[in-house]
C-alpha cells in the first residue's frame, strides 16, 4: 500500500475501533460468568436467563416497542408530507421558514424539548383535563422529533426523482392525487420505509424527552436501563445491549437494502 492508502487505513481502523470497542466488549461480557466487566471468569448464559425472567424489564421493553411502532408510523406519515412539501414547494421565504421548522427538533437539545412538551401536557391537563401522561404523551413527543428525520430522507429521495414520470402520468389522464398515489408513492416507498425504521430505533432509544413526559406508571426500557446503570454496571444490561445491537444491525441492514437502487 502506498503512503496515502496506509494513512487512510490507519485512520479508519482507529476510528472504527473507537466506535466499536465498547459495543464489542459489552457483548462479550454479557456471556461472562462473573458480574464484573473487568475480569473474564468463563462463559455463561446466566445473565441471559436472568434478563428474560426480569418482569419489570420485559414490561418496559413491551411498552417501548408499542410506543415505537405508533410513533414511527405517525412520524412516517407526517414526515412524508413534510418531505414532499420541502422537495416540491416553489422556493420562497415561506418554504425556507417551513424547512427550518421541520428540522429544528432534530438539533434542539432534548432537555429543552422535554421541559417544553411537559409544560404543554400539564397545561392541557389544566384546561382540557387530559391526556394523562403515559403512552400517548410519550408517543406524541417521539413523533414530534422523528418527523425531521423522515422528512430529510423523503426530501432527498424526491430530489433524485424523475419528474417526467409524473408528467407522463398526468398526460395520460391522472389527476395530481392519483399520480402521487400510483406513481410517486410506490417509487419512494423504500425511502419512507427506511425513514420509518430510523424513527423506530430513535423512539426505542429515547431517554431524556421520555423522562419528562412520562407519567409515574410508565417506565420505558431506556428509563429502566438508566435507573439501573446509575447504580453501576449490571450484567443484565450487557445482555440487553447485545440484543439491541443485533436489532439495530438488522434494522440498518434492512434499511440499506430498501434504499439500494439499481441504476
Amino acid at each position: 500500500m502506498n503512503g496515502r492508502a496506509r494513512f487512510a487505513f490507519t485512520v479508519l481502523a482507529f476510528g472504527y475501533a473507537f466506535l466499536y470497542l465498547p459495543i464489542v466488549l459489552v457483548i462479550v461480557y454479557s456471556f461472562n460468568e462473573s458480574r464484573l466487566v473487568t475480569v473474564w471468569a468463563g462463559f455463561s448464559t446466566k445473565w441471559w436467563q436472568a434478563l428474560f425472567a426480569n418482569e419489570a424489564m420485559l414490561d418496559a421493553a413491551w411498552l417501548s416497542l408499542r410506543i415505537a411502532l405508533v410513533s414511527a408510523t405517525a412520524a412516517a406519515a407526517i414526515g412524508l408530507a413534510a418531505g414532499y412539501a420541502l422537495a416540491r414547494a416553489p422556493s420562497s421565504f415561506g418554504r425556507t421558514l417551513f424547512g427550518s421548522l421541520i428540522i429544528a427538533p432534530m438539533v434542539m437539545p432534548e432537555v429543552v424539548m422535554g421541559i417544553s412538551m411537559l409544560l404543554l401536557f400539564v397545561g392541557s391537563e389544566q384546561i382540557f383535563g387530559g391526556p394523562d401522561r403515559g403512552f400517548l404523551t410519550i408517543a406524541l413527543a417521539h413523533t414530534t422529533f422523528s418527523i425531521a428525520f423522515v422528512a430529510i430522507v423523503v426530501q432527498a429521495r424526491l430530489a433524485d426523482f424523475d419528474r417526467s414520470l409524473e408528467e407522463a402520468a398526468m398526460d395520460l389522464g391522472a389527476t395530481p392525487w392519483v399520480t402521487f398515489r400510483t406513481i410517486t408513492l410506490p417509487l419512494i416507498a423504500p425511502a419512507v420505509g427506511s425513514g420509518w425504521l430510523l424513527a423506530f430505533t430513535l423512539s426505542l432509544d429515547d431517554l431524556i424527552l421520555t423522562q419528562f413526559v412520562a407519567g409515574a406508571q410508565s417506565q420505558t426500557l431506556p428509563m429502566r436501563v438508566y435507573s439501573s446503570v446509575r447504580l453501576g454496571v449490571d450484567p443484565q444490561i450487557n445482555v440487553l445491549a447485545t440484543i439491541i445491537v443485533c436489532v439495530a444491525a438488522c434494522a440498518l441492514i434492512l434499511s440499506g437494502w430498501l434504499t439500494r437502487r439499481k441504476v
Binding site: 408528467e167 407522463a168 398526468m170 398526460d171 395520460l172 389522464g173 400510483t182
Partner: protein
C-alpha cells in the same frame, strides 16, 4: 412529403407568451396546425420550441395569449384533462410496471373496463411490433423498444393531438432512419395529427408536412419543407436550413443554394458569373462541397454531385475556377 390534408385547423395558437423570470421563452406566437398533418417545430436550443410544446401539453401555463384545441379553449386546462398526449424525450416509462401495465395506464385513468383495456393494449402493442414483450419491464428493453412502448402508451388513448419531444434524439443513426420512416407511416395510417419538436433540420424536412422555424421565442417562418428551403423568409432561415450563400444584391440580399451554382474551368455563359480560387474541398461521398474565395463576392460554397466513380473530385485545391448561376437561381431576401 405527404399529400396535403383538407385545410381544417385542429390547433390555433394566438399570441402565446411565456416568461421565466427575466427571460421571455415564447414571445407572442401565432400558429395554426391543421388536422392530419405532421407539424414540426424546428430551432436551435433556447428558441422556445420545447416550451411551446409543453404549453400545448399543459405542463406550462402561458403568461399571455391562448390555445384552442379542436374548437375549445384549453389555455388554462391541466394536462390530465386535455385530449392531447405526449411522447417524452426520455420516454418516461413507469419502472415499477411492465409494458402492458404502462400502455394501459391511461385507459385505466379513463375508467375503461378491464377486458377492453386488454384488447386495446394488445392492439397497440401489435401496431408497434412489441406484442410479445408485454410482460417485460422497461429496464429489460432496448432504447428503440422503449420508444415504441412510449408511443403505444400515448396512441392507445386515441388523442386528438400527439406531441413528440425530440423523438429521434436518443437513438443511434441507423435506428433513427428506420424510426423516422415508421413514425411517418404510423401517422398517415392512423390519420392523427402529430406535433414534433426537433433541432435537427434534416429530420424535420424529411418528416414534416409543414414546419415552423423558431428563433428567440418567435416563429420566423411557417411553410412546407419545400417552401422553406427554396423561399426562406430571412437570412436566418436561409442559413439555418441547409447551406446558403448570402450575397448582397440591390439593397437587400440574395440566398443562393450551393447546388444551384455550376463550377467550371472557364467562364460559363450563365447570367451571373464570378471567378475564384478553391480554398478547400469536403468529400462527402455522394457530393463534394467546394469552399471558394471569389473576386468580389467573398467566400462561397458550391456543391456538385459526384457522378463519376473514378475521380473523387472534378477540381483540385488552389485551382482557379469560375462560378456561374442563372438569374432565378437565388431567392431575394429583404431581412
Amino acid at each position: 412529403m405527404h399529400a396535403g390534408p383538407i385545410v381544417d385547423s385542429i390547433v390555433r395558437i394566438e399570441g402565446l407568451t411565456k416568461r421565466f423570470g427575466a427571460i421571455t421563452a415564447v414571445d407572442g406566437v401565432d400558429l395554426e396546425i391543421r388536422r392530419g398533418e405532421l407539424f414540426a417545430l424546428l430551432g436551435g436550443s433556447g428558441c422556445g420550441k420545447t416550451t411551446l410544446l409543453r404549453m400545448l401539453a399543459g405542463f406550462e401555463v402561458p403568461d399571455g395569449g391562448r390555445i384552442v384545441i379542436d374548437g375549445q379553449d384549453m389555455t388554462g386546462v391541466p394536462p390530465h384533462l386535455r385530449p392531447v398526449n405526449m411522447m417524452f424525450q426520455s420516454y418516461a416509462l413507469f419502472p415499477h410496471m411492465d409494458v402492458a401495465a404502462n400502455v394501459g395506464y391511461g385507459l385505466r385513468r379513463e375508467g375503461v373496463r378491464a377486458p377492453e383495456i386488454a384488447a386495446r393494449v394488445a392492439e397497440a402493442l401489435e401496431q408497434v411490433k412489441l406484442a410479445d414483450h408485454a410482460a417485460r419491464r422497461p429496464a429489460q428493453l432496448s432504447g428503440g423498444q422503449r420508444q415504441r412502448v412510449a408511443l403505444a402508451r400515448a396512441l392507445v388513448k386515441r388523442p386528438k393531438l400527439l406531441l413528440l419531444d425530440e423523438p429521434l434524439a436518443a437513438l443511434d443513426r441507423k435506428l433513427r432512419e428506420g424510426t423516422r420512416f415508421e413514425l411517418v407511416r404510423l401517422q398517415e395510417q392512423l390519420g392523427l395529427t402529430f406535433v414534433m419538436v426537433t433541432h435537427d433540420q434534416q429530420e424535420s424536412m424529411s418528416m414534416a408536412t409543414r414546419l415552423a422555424v423558431m428563433n428567440t421565442g418567435r416563429v420566423v417562418q411557417v411553410g412546407t419543407p419545400h417552401e422553406i428551403y427554396e423561399r426562406p423568409a430571412s437570412r436566418f432561415v436561409a442559413d439555418f436550413i441547409g447551406i446558403a450563400n448570402i450575397l448582397e444584391a440591390d439593397g437587400g440580399w440574395l440566398a443562393l443554394r450551393p447546388e444551384r451554382i455550376t463550377l467550371a474551368a472557364g467562364r460559363p455563359d450563365t447570367a451571373n458569373t464570378v471567378a475564384g480560387k478553391i480554398l478547400d474541398i469536403a468529400y462527402e461521398g455522394d457530393r463534394s462541397l467546394y469552399r471558394i474565395v471569389t473576386e468580389g463576392k467573398g467566400t462561397m460554397v458550391v456543391s456538385t454531385a459526384n457522378v463519376d466513380r473514378m475521380q473523387p473530385a472534378s477540381f483540385a485545391r488552389d485551382q482557379d475556377v469560375w462560378l456561374g448561376w442563372s438569374a432565378d437561381a437565388g431567392h431575394r431576401l429583404s431581412e
